[in-house]
Amino acid sequence: MLHDSHAHNVALTGKNLRMSPEDAAVSLLRAAGLAGIAAPPIDVLYLAEEHVGLDVQEHADLFAVPGAPPRESGARLSGLLFPEHRRIYVNAVEAKRSHGRKLFTVAHELGHWHLHRGDGTAVHTRFCSEADVGAAPARLKSTQQIEHEANRFAAALLMPEPMVRSLAPAVQFNVRLLAQRFDVSVPAMQVRLEALNMLPDYMRR
């Protein structure tokens, strides 16, 4: 079964070159049979490990991982993707602080896997700094294009639009409650609701 999933995802990657990050996320959910589920959270670890066949590891110091970039003073890494080893590393310190953050980083790296590993310049290892992986709304909106796309993919994967549109009115658009239900951070939920134009001005940040 794992083999079939891998073959499917290779084909999917080819198609994804022309897809928006949101469409690529929906394709992945459909391929994994998760597009029709009614209730969150989306099990991104299942998607990454069981469906796509990536190994997800945590490490407290990502600069110490073999193949990581040289340590820079003040710099922090949130996630690493090693396509050739089919492996994602997540910053264990951040993961301990916020489970939602950890899942967003996994989804972000999954976004790179689907969107960027075949684009010529990015077949290589991806190093995602703390600022690249969406945490605060300002960061989610302003990072480099390729990182921005990975963030959009992650948001659409963890918080699928139909699911958000269905659940948000039922809880009066309560952002913290929705974040709990979707198992994401509050800033990630806030940005998703704003991106979907679902919040009135007085709830926007």
Binding site: A60, D61, F63, A64, R71, R76, V93, E94, R97, V171, Q172, F173, N174, V175, R176, L177, Q180, V186, L199, P200, Y202, M203
Partner: protein
């Protein structure tokens, strides 16, 4: 129906002993709070709203001073003269621990105020039902109180009034007494058109139909960001739709909270850094806190605080203090704290361990903890 939703006016609040309003001969911060209250009343009268509701902590104390009572009654009298009904609930600051002495709301009720201070009550004003839940020291009891309320099917709108925090919402209150937090589910599932909340001092909308209007004046440094405003709600408009909510901005006493990076600064450079941090900000009459970060112990000892007194001479109040990072040992007093940790750790590392990697991880944890503290402080 259009209403003004107020909360956390804290009439009777005082701060900075010895700082008086020159004309009224009263504590200046106490006057600030009264002035904000009267401006809010002005707005309610000018806007010709159909009701004013107050979601708790009308007073700063459960036993308000005669002055605070007089200011409250002056405002309520103006609303009564304008035929604007007022509904209020007791908040944690205005609920006495021992009720044998009665409540200030008993007096206000005789003045025509609709008040819920002992138990939940529903008040009908025109075609709107206001379900008023006073502060309750036990969160589970308050949840029961809310669950026991049934929206009036004949009302054009049903409004729930609450005074409580919410789980996972950073508080921006001060000196809290007997405060409680409710689960987010409680308000998300509450079947009311509008939930008028009080307790948090910053404007916040935890959900589309539940709003904290915030206090009318800044009462502490946790409440520096954002504008203060009087909240007007149009209950004939669906929550979230254009026109549902309007904020009428209030001018408040300026409050500045400055974090100044003093790394590599001598005592003169610290003064320059503070001047630079103030920049063009208006400090006349302001309340200012300066926190000196990464400051060396020797530099702190050499600071001329008279310079700061000159710089902030026109402020109502200022304080200059050591920031979160604490005092650093200077080059003559030893090595910098982070380096000391390196040396300490290297000497204790078991063989076969990558000491630099372990130190890097430990420093990440320390930075992380520091970042969390800063975030918590900002919140």
């Amino acid at each position: 129906m259009r209403i003004i939703h107020l909360a956390d006016t804290h009439l009777g609040f005082r701060q900075f002993s010895g700082k008086f309003d020159p004309e009224r001969k009263l504590n200046q911060r106490e006057c600030d709070v009264y002035d904000a209250w009267h401006r809010a009343i002005d707005i309610a009268v000018t806007r010709e709203v159909d009701a004013v509701i107050h979601a708790g902590d009308l007073f700063d104390s459960s036993r308000p001073s005669p002055r605070a009572m007089a200011e409250a009654l002056d405002g309520l009298a103006r609303l009564r003269d304008a035929a604007i009904p007022v509904i209020a609930i007791a908040g944690n600051h205005s609920t006495p621990r021992f009720r044998s002495g009665g409540s200030v709301f008993e007096i206000l009720e005789r003045f025509g105020l609709h008040a819920a201070w002992r138990e939940p009550q529903t008040f009908r004003v025109a075609d709107v039902a206001f379900h008023a839940v006073p502060h309750e020291g036990d969160g589970a009891q308050m949840q029961e109180d809310i669950a026991g309320l049934v929206p009036d099917p004949t009302a054009a709108a049903n409004v729930l009034m609450l005074h409580a925090g919410l789980e996972a919402v950073p508080t921006s209150t001060y000196g809290e007494v007997n405060a409680i937090e409710l689960s987010q589910d409680v308000i998300a599932q509450a079947p009311f058109d509008y939930i008028a909340m009080g307790h948090l001092h910053r404007f916040q909308a935890p959900q589309i139909n539940a709003i904290y209007p915030g206090s009318l004046e800044r009462l502490d440094f946790a409440d520096v960001d954002g504008e203060k405003a009087v909240l007007e709600v149009d209950l004939s408009t669906p929550a979230g739709a254009p026109g549902f909510l309007a904020r009428h901005t209030l001018r408040t006493r300026p409050m500045l909270d400055l974090l100044v990076d003093c790394s590599a600064c001598d005592h003169e450079a610290v003064v320059h850094a503070v001047v630079s941090a103030v920049g063009d900000a208006a400090v006349d009459g302001a309340v200012v806190r300066v926190r000196l970060e990464e400051l060396q112990r020797e530099v702190w000892g050499a600071l001329d605080f008279g310079r700061f007194d000159e710089l902030f001479g026109s402020c109502l109040h200022h304080t200059v203090q050591v920031g979160r990072t604490g005092l650093r040992a200077g080059p003559e007093g030893g090595v910098e704290a982070e380096l000391r940790f390196d040396a300490w750790a290297r000497g204790r590392m078991p063989s076969g361990v990558d000491s630099e990697a372990v130190i890097a991880i430990a420093q990440n944890y320390l930075k992380d903890a520091s970042a969390s503290e800063v975030e918590a402080d900002a919140a």
